[in-house]
Symmetry: C2
Subunit: 306 residues, 2 copies
């Protein structure tokens, strides 16, 4: 069983409009509602790959009820979300029909009280013994201490559970110092963490800061992995047009599933790159296209870097 | 008791962002949730003025639950909304902190089935006998026949209940032909109905099409009323800066409350103009500022037009 933690779950709405114009009024022609937050996205991809996965984090209000309702139909996925007083945030992706471009509006998330955070810590510790890996994903809602992920990384390491961290800014900086097994920053997060815009140098620097393994996601350039066993670059065989929303979460799911199946690093990376590209290619944001995934999987050949 | 009908109720969200830029990502710094839809707004203002009011229309899903929860605390307001399978729509007003300008995103609303519409008609007929006036307000959700308001106007007239219609486009055109007691179009709706952009000519033409009385709302120029007792113009004493959202709904509430209290037309119009201006002046969209209302009330003097 894999545990994914999403402290700031979301109800993700996708709105289709003709063309977004500031200060005008728009009729939304289509509304799609999905449960969201990075860890929830990772869990859905893991479940689609046939893994058993438990989802935890905070959930509240009518939006939280909508998230839980929609998760309850997913085979292989167990809901261990913790109810809180505040309401789960919404995120809104406004897609222009004319250009296909997306404008994003993200609510901040509910205020988490000190007792709610303490309850979560106990809940997390109780879940860990039955887990073979844990992924800590996404932003922190208001009220959660900035060192939250560092704390959750330490608890997982004490229990001997491999822990992946995928966040940004100060929570990432502190989390890395707690020595997670794996981090998966994108180019911007990596540059913010290390101060370097040169991916290989920055990735190596992130390891020195405490991460056992660093897999950097570089958009269309694929993944750069610096591991104790070696360094690899894995790139998609072609430029895939589409919507990159959720591509990083699919890469995290690919890496975790490879860890569970004890695949060698090149196979893990090939899977993560193919899943990521198949997510860009899917018509709905955050889904992956299974045919594209299977078709690409054999065509990604990670290169060892000297 | 006054009845307001809102076939397309809404959960109105107001988002504050620094400045909306198409195709960028935005953190929403503040989220305000309110029950909405024109008839709901009218009812809230009527209740605040001390009138007993019943709200009906369709409501569904988690968003519908949020609307009902928020209405339940309003003194003087009775919830007679009819549950449907589809979910109540959201409307999103994105307010730029820098300019104060607003970008509007409106979901279309739930699909109403034929049996749901038939159930509503029976529900409406059952409510009417205890009502002294009815207001039919706003857009039609998908699935409701375009002649819906014409039908509701005729039923009210058969029962001898005064009926006000505030909508646009084809539902207004058909509704007017069913001879409502009062319509309150804005300049755009009036021009669309009559083909004339000259307010006095268009207002008189709207009466010839069937409306007993026409009160046109002309934004900062106030109201133009063509009634069987005479024609008046009522303008605010000064240009009021602020957010015009809900100003038309407050005018409708002013006219209805004046009808209930059997006020002479000049007093009804003065009240409607002062409420409308006090809504523009209020910090939250759709609320009215009571001090501004009371201060302006004595300063609006409708002029009789020869």
């Amino acid at each position: 069983m894999i545990l994914t933690v999403t402290l700031n779950t979301a109800l993700d709405l996708t709105y289709r409009v003709r063309s977004l114009r500031p200060h005008a009024s728009h009729r939304v022609s289509e509304v799609i509602e999905r449960p969201g937050g990075k860890g929830v996205n990772v869990a859905r991809v893991l479940a689609a790959l046939g893994h058993e996965v438990t989802v935890t984090g905070f959930v509240g209000g009518g939006t939280g009820r909508a998230v839980r309702d929609r998760l309850s139909g997913t085979a292989g996925l167990t809901d261990a979300l913790l109810p809180v007083t505040g309401a789960t945030r919404r995120t809104i992706a406004v897609v222009d029909e004319l250009s296909g471009d997306t404008t994003q509006l993200n609510e901040p998330g509910p205020q988490i009280s000190r007792p709610e955070w303490a309850t979560f810590l106990a809940h997390y510790e109780a879940l860990l013994p039955s887990m073979s890996a844990v992924a800590l994903c996404g932003s922190l809602p208001p009220g959660v201490p900035v060192g939250a992920y560092a704390n959750l990384v330490r608890v997982a390491r004490t229990r001997g559970v491999p822990v992946l961290l995928d966040t940004s800014g100060e929570p990432l900086r502190r989390g890395v110092a707690a020595r997670p097994d794996l981090i998966k920053p994108n180019a911007g997060e990596l540059a913010e963490l290390t101060g370097s815009h040169e991916p290989l140098r920055a990735t190596q620097d992130a390891r020195r800061r405490g991460a056992h393994t660093v897999v950097a996601s570089l958009g269309a350039d694929g993944l750069l992995a610096v591991t104790p066993e070696g360094r690899w670059r894995a790139t998609p065989p072609a430029r895939i047009p589409g919507n990159p929303t959720g591509a990083g979460d699919s890469a995290v799911a690919g890496l975790l599933s490879g860890l569970m199946e004890k695949l060698p690093w090149p196979e893990r990376l090939a899977r993560a790159v193919a899943l990521s590209a198949a997510t860009v290619a899917a018509p709905a944001a955050g889904e992956f296209d299974r045919r594209t995934f299977e078709e690409l999987l054999g065509r990604v050949s990670p290169r060892l870097i000297a």
